[in-house]
């Protein structure tokens, strides 16, 4: 009897050992798959997350809301001070609004005089933030719109004001937004007013540094930073933030997006313009055959371009 027990125990033990090695092999295979065929493994991950997280929405939303309410309640203690500050700010904003309206009208008039055609307005989708990355090592969030709503990889995400990040990974009902602050994020930017080009690289802080700056003498703290549209990932002219100077004199960007209260994200619909492949098309796109009446409306400049193209 005791002998049989011993046999059973050793049998169970070797079965366990076999199971351990099988699991070890499986996990090693998974790591290697993730390393070698990363897009496929990430699609696997997105499929699992897409199945799991939107179903947890009923639990996530109330808890998130409740915690936000507690945070809001804490801010009531300084409500008087905040009110005063806001009034003051509003007064300044009114002056700016008046100036902006006048400038807009003037701008519209000038554009009309010059017959300039600007890029069409960008349209957007809005999604709710479901979860964050769960660890401070990754800067990303999951939002509740996905391929079902037409979201595509690479589209920029903004809060009301500034760029937040871009879509990286789209599931059916959810998609992931990698933030500008993530260490994997590199964005070509343009620093106004002198149009200096640089790359904005995330470093896990709210003040990401500017790399590969053309000429740092022509950049000053306070200058506006927008996307340059180089590389065709982002449209140009999306606001990112303002230049500031870091502790060791390095130029960094103070992001305009308010990461403290990201609840809704705007996903900008963006189809990059067709690349120009043939050198002779650098002058402009191939025009359809023009009727005489349209030709008379053309400005001298575009007529000259047309002539060169032919």
């Amino acid at each position: 009897m005791a002998k049989r027990d011993d046999n059973d125990i050793s049998f169970a033990r070797s079965l366990r050992r076999l199971g351990f090695f099988l699991l070890l092999m499986f996990l090693t295979g998974l790591v290697l798959l993730w390393r070698i065929d990363n897009p496929r493994a990430e699609r696997l991950r997105i499929a699992v997350v897409d199945r799991l997280v939107p179903n947890m929405d009923w639990a996530l939303q109330p808890v998130t809301k409740a915690a936000r309410m507690v945070a809001d309640f804490q801010s009531y203690t300084q409500i008087y001070q905040q009110n005063q500050d806001l009034r003051q700010e509003l007064q300044q904003m009114k002056a700016w609004r008046e100036a902006a309206l006048q400038l807009e009208q003037k701008n519209a008039k000038l554009l009309d005089l010059n017959k300039v055609r600007l890029n069409p307005k960008l349209s957007y989708l809005t999604g709710v933030v479901l979860t964050d990355a769960g660890s401070p090592f990754r800067q990303s969030a999951l939002i509740n719109i996905g391929s079902r709503d037409g979201v595509k990889d690479g589209w920029p995400a903004m809060d009301g004001l500034g760029l937040v990040g871009r879509i990286s990974g789209v599931g059916r009902n959810s998609s992931r937004v990698i933030f500008v602050t993530d260490t994997n994020s590199h964005i070509p930017v343009l620093i106004k007013p002198f149009d200096q080009r640089a790359i904005l690289t995330g470093d896990n802080s709210l003040l990401p540094p500017l790399d590969f700056l053309e000429n740092s003498d022509r950049v000053q703290p306070g200058d506006r930073v927008v996307t340059s549209g180089d590389g065709g990932v982002f449209p140009n002219g999306l606001l990112i933030g303002q230049v500031t100077q870091g502790a060791n004199g390095r130029l960094r960007v103070r992001l305009s997006a308010d990461y403290r209260r990201l609840e809704f994200l705007r996903i900008i619909r963006f189809e990059p313009t067709a690349p120009i492949n043939n050198p002779d098309r650098l002058i402009g796109p191939e025009f359809p055959p023009l009727a005489g009446s349209e030709r008379s409306e053309m400005t001298p400049a575009s007529a000259a371009e047309e002539g060169v193209a032919q």
Binding site: V31, W34, V53, M56, L60, T64, G134, F179
Partner: protein, 179 residues
């Protein structure tokens, strides 16, 4: 007696899964999306080790792998890397549990510090070997220290909520009948 132990094991296993789910859930709530915070301690690892020392039968290998794989998937970690390390460590703990049970709590704590340090180092080394982007050490080292610090709390939690204590070792035969 044996049936009672089995039911207790099942109960502890379910409690562990629930605790795991709650920790994961709390970490995923998008309360603060600001970068550059302090990394939270790895409570899941501490809980697993403490439970493995005290009641290994409650935590089958497959459960460990499934839960930690879920953790990897949801937290955007390299798929399966940390799970691989955790599986190896869990087997190590299972095999050396009888020595750890004889230790006083202070030496168990030091043993845990060494174990978690080794696990983190192994993870870091594997990331270097596979050319995976590594976590910055300025965030990683505080996280390791933080995790080691919360280990006594985790053991206390295990004691109070799970009702799991270190088995008192009277004799060798008694130990094999238990757990």
């Amino acid at each position: 007696m044996k049936k009672a132990a089995r039911i207790k094991n099942l109960r502890v296993g379910i409690l562990f899964t629930a605790a795991f789910a709650i920790v994961l859930f709390v970490r995923l709530i998008p309360l603060d999306l600001m970068p550059g915070q302090i990394a939270p301690p790895d409570i899941l690892f501490a809980l697993m080790v403490a439970l493995l020392v005290r009641r290994p039968r409650a935590l089958p290998m497959v459960l460990v792998v499934v839960l930690f794989l879920l953790n990897d998937i949801l937290l955007q970690q390299p798929l399966g890397l940390w799970t691989l390390v955790v599986l190896a460590i869990s087997e190590l703990v299972r095999n050396s549990r009888s020595e750890v049970r004889e230790m006083l709590f202070l030496s168990e704590w030091i043993w845990f510090a060494g174990l978690f340090g080794a696990a983190s180092a192994a993870d870091y080394a594997l990331r270097i070997a596979l050319f995976v982007p590594r976590e910055p050490l300025t965030l990683l080292l505080p996280m390791i220290i933080f995790t080691i610090t919360v280990y006594p709390l985790v053991v206390l939690f295990l004691n109070v909520v799970f009702g799991v204590q270190k088995p008192v070792q009277r004799d060798f035969a008694g130990m094999s009948a238990r757990s």
